[in-house]
C-alpha cells in the first residue's frame, strides 16, 4: 500500500518535471521567432544598407527601383504626415468619447456604446480601405484644388483616424476608469463640481495612461498597410502644397513605408528586394521606438493596458 503510494508520488513528480520543460520550450518559441525575424529581414536588408547606405536611403527623395535609386524620404514623409493627420483628427474625438463614456454617460448608454467601439476596432482594415475608396475619396475629390484626385493624405488621414479611434478610446477610457472612485468622492466631498473633479483630479491622474493610449494609436497608425494602400494614391512623391494654402499639402498623393513594401515585394528581386527589406527594418525600428515609449509611459503611470 505504502509502496504503491510512493510509486504514484514518484510518477507524479516526473510528469511535473516533464511538463515544466515542455512549457519552457513554448515560452522560448517567441524569442526564437523574434531572432529569426531579425536574422532574415536583416540578412535580406544588409546588401541594401551596404550598397546604398543608410544615410542616403533616409535622405534621398527619389525611389526608382528600375534605375537603382532607393531613397525613402518620400515614404517617410508620407507615413509621418498621414499619422499626424490622423492624430489631429482622431485624438480629440477619442478622448472626448473616453471621458464621456467613463465619467458622464449613464451606465445604460455606456453599456450600449462600449461594445460598438470594440466592434469598430475589430473591423478589418481592408473594409475601412474599401469604405475610404468608395465614400471618402469621392467626397474629398470635391475640394477644388488643382491635381486633387481624392486619393491622398487627407482621405488616408480620415480613414486612419477612424481606425485608431477605438484603440485610443478604449485604452484611455480604461485609464480613466481605473482612477479610483475614492479620488472622485474625495474631491466632491470638498465641494468641487463634477467637471472640476474630472478636470483637476481624474484627468491628471489618468494622464500617463491617456498619453500612452495616444502613442499606442500612433504606433498602430504607422504600421497600417492595406487601408493606406487603398486610399493614399501610392505615388512616390514628397508631398507638397498645391497652392499658397499650406493645408493643401494634405490633398497631395503619397505613399507610406508599409505600402511601399506591400505593393512591391511580390515582384521585387535583387537589390530592389533588399531595399524593401531595409525599409522594413527602418519601419520596425521606428515603431519599436514609439511602442517602447508607450510602454514606458504606461509603466510609469502604473496602469495595465490590454492588447
Amino acid at each position: 500500500m505504502e509502496g504503491r503510494k510512493a510509486g504514484v508520488q514518484k510518477r507524479k513528480r516526473q510528469f511535473d518535471t516533464a511538463m515544466k520543460y515542455s512549457l519552457l520550450f513554448a515560452a522560448l518559441a517567441s524569442i526564437l521567432i523574434v531572432l529569426m525575424i531579425g536574422i532574415f529581414t536583416f540578412r535580406e536588408a544588409l546588401p541594401a544598407f551596404r550598397h546604398i547606405g543608410i544615410g542616403k536611403m533616409l535622405t534621398e527623395p527619389v525611389w526608382r527601383p528600375g534605375q537603382e535609386q532607393f531613397g525613402i524620404l518620400a515614404m517617410i514623409a508620407g507615413s509621418g504626415l498621414v499619422t499626424l493627420g490622423s492624430v489631429i483628427l482622431g485624438v480629440p474625438l477619442a478622448l472626448g468619447c473616453a471621458i464621456f463614456l467613463s465619467e458622464i454617460a449613464h451606465p445604460r448608454i455606456r453599456a450600449l456604446v462600449k461594445p460598438c467601439i470594440e466592434l469598430l476596432a475589430g473591423i478589418p482594415s481592408v473594409v475601412y480601405g474599401l469604405f475610404g475608396m468608395v465614400v471618402i475619396v469621392p467626397m474629398v475629390r470635391h475640394i477644388e484644388v488643382p491635381g486633387n484626385t481624392g486619393f491622398g493624405l487627407l482621405s488616408a488621414s480620415i480613414v486612419l483616424a477612424v481606425m485608431i479611434l477605438p484603440t485610443i478610446t478604449s485604452v484611455s477610457e480604461h485609464a480613466i476608469r481605473s482612477v479610483p472612485k475614492e479620488f472622485r468622492e474625495g474631491s466632491l466631498a470638498m465641494g468641487a463640481t463634477r467637471w472640476e473633479t474630472i478636470q483637476k483630479v481624474v484627468l491628471p491622474t489618468a494622464r500617463s495612461g491617456i498619453v500612452s493610449a495616444v502613442v499606442l494609436g500612433l504606433g498602430r497608425a504607422l504600421g497600417e498597410t492595406i487601408a493606406m494602400i487603398m486610399v493614399i494614391g501610392n505615388s512616390v512623391i514628397v508631398p507638397a502644397a498645391a497652392n499658397s494654402n499650406p493645408l493643401t499639402i494634405f490633398l497631395s498623393r503619397a505613399r507610406t513605408l508599409t505600402g511601399n513594401i506591400a505593393v512591391e515585394i511580390n515582384y521585387a528581386t535583387g537589390l530592389h528586394q533588399n531595399a524593401l527589406f531595409a525599409t522594413g527594418v527602418i519601419l520596425f525600428v521606428l515603431i519599436m521606438i514609439v511602442n517602447s515609449s508607450a510602454r514606458y509611459l504606461m509603466s510609469r503611470g502604473g496602469f495595465k493596458v490590454q492588447r
Binding site: E182, G191, A192, P204
Partner: protein, 256 residues
C-alpha cells in the same frame, strides 16, 4: 443631556429605489464631540453618514423623506457645494490625490477661490499641523502624497478636509484599512480635533467606538431590512448600561 447640536436628523428616511435603507431616523449630533455610529454590516451606517453631506446624491435612484438640518437649516435647501464645505468627509481608504502633499491640501481652498500664495501656504500649514502630520512632512511638501504610508495618507486626507474649514467632519470607517499603530494615531488625532470640530465616525470596531467617542449611536435593521436607530447616548453609558437589550447583545458580541 446634549449640549448644543450641530446636525439633527428628523424622521429621516432614505430609499434606494424601492428599498427603504433608513427608517425614520431621529438623532442629534452634539457640537465639539465625537459621535460614533455602530451596528452590524448593512444596517445603514454609511447611508446615514453619507446623507449628512449629500454624498448620496450621486446615487441615481436615491430618495429621501424627513429632514436633516445642519446649523438649523435643511440640507436640501442649502447649496450642495456650500454644504459640503461645512460638512467635510474622510473615507475608508486613504484617498490622497496623486499630487504633491501641498497641492492635496491646497486643493479645496483653490477650488473655493483662494489664489493668494502666502495665504494658501498658511492654510496648508495650519491644516497639516491640525492633522498632526506637520512634523513628519514639513520638509517634503513637494513630494507625492502617494509616497506617504497609509496612516500618513489618511492624516493627509484629514488635513485636506480641514483646509476648507468645515464645522463637521464625517468619517466612514477611517481606520479600517490601517494597521494598529496608524489606527491609534488616527484615534488620538480625533480626540484632538474635537476641540475645534464636530466629528461623526462610522466604525465596525466596537472597541474603537468605545475608545474614541463621546456619544454612540447604535443602528440595526428591522425585519424589512431597513436601518433603525436603536439607541443613542453617552458612550460610557452605552457600554456599561445600555437601555436596549439588542444594544447590550451587540456590544457584548452576542450577534453581528
Amino acid at each position: 443631556m446634549i449640549e448644543q447640536t450641530v446636525m439633527r436628523a428628523l424622521d429621516f428616511t432614505l430609499y434606494y429605489g424601492d428599498f427603504k435603507a433608513l427608517n425614520s431616523i431621529n438623532m442629534e449630533i452634539p457640537m465639539n464631540s465625537i459621535t460614533a455610529i455602530i451596528g452590524p454590516s448593512g444596517c445603514g451606517k454609511s447611508s446615514l453618514i453619507r446623507s449628512f453631506n449629500r454624498m448620496n446624491d450621486l446615487i441615481a435612484n436615491m430618495r429621501t423623506e424627513g429632514r436633516i438640518l445642519v446649523d438649523d437649516e435643511d440640507i436640501y435647501s442649502q447649496d450642495v457645494v456650500q454644504l459640503r464645505r461645512k460638512v467635510g468627509m474622510v473615507f475608508q481608504r486613504p484617498n490622497p490625490f496623486p499630487k504633491s502633499i501641498f497641492d492635496n491640501v491646497a486643493y479645496g481652498p483653490r477650488i473655493h477661490g483662494v489664489r493668494d500664495r502666502s495665504r494658501l501656504a498658511a492654510i496648508v500649514e495650519g491644516s497639516i499641523r491640525d492633522a498632526a502630520l506637520w512634523e513628519e512632512v514639513r520638509d517634503d511638501l513637494d513630494k507625492s502624497a502617494l509616497s506617504l504610508s497609509g496612516g500618513q495618507q489618511q492624516r493627509l486626507c484629514i488635513a485636506r478636509a480641514l483646509a476648507v474649514e468645515p464645522e463637521v467632519i464625517l468619517m466612514d470607517e477611517p481606520a479600517s484599512a490601517l494597521d494598529p499603530v496608524a489606527t491609534l494615531k488616527i484615534e488620538e488625532l480625533m480626540g484632538k480635533l474635537k476641540r475645534k470640530y464636530t466629528i461623526v465616525v462610522v466604525t465596525h470596531n466596537m472597541q474603537q467606538a468605545a475608545r474614541v467617542s463621546d456619544y454612540t449611536a447604535f443602528m440595526l435593521t428591522d425585519p424589512e431590512r431597513s436601518g433603525n436607530l436603536i439607541e443613542f447616548g453617552r458612550t460610557s453609558d452605552i457600554f456599561t448600561k445600555p437601555l436596549d437589550k439588542r444594544t447590550e447583545d451587540y456590544i457584548s458580541g452576542r450577534f453581528g
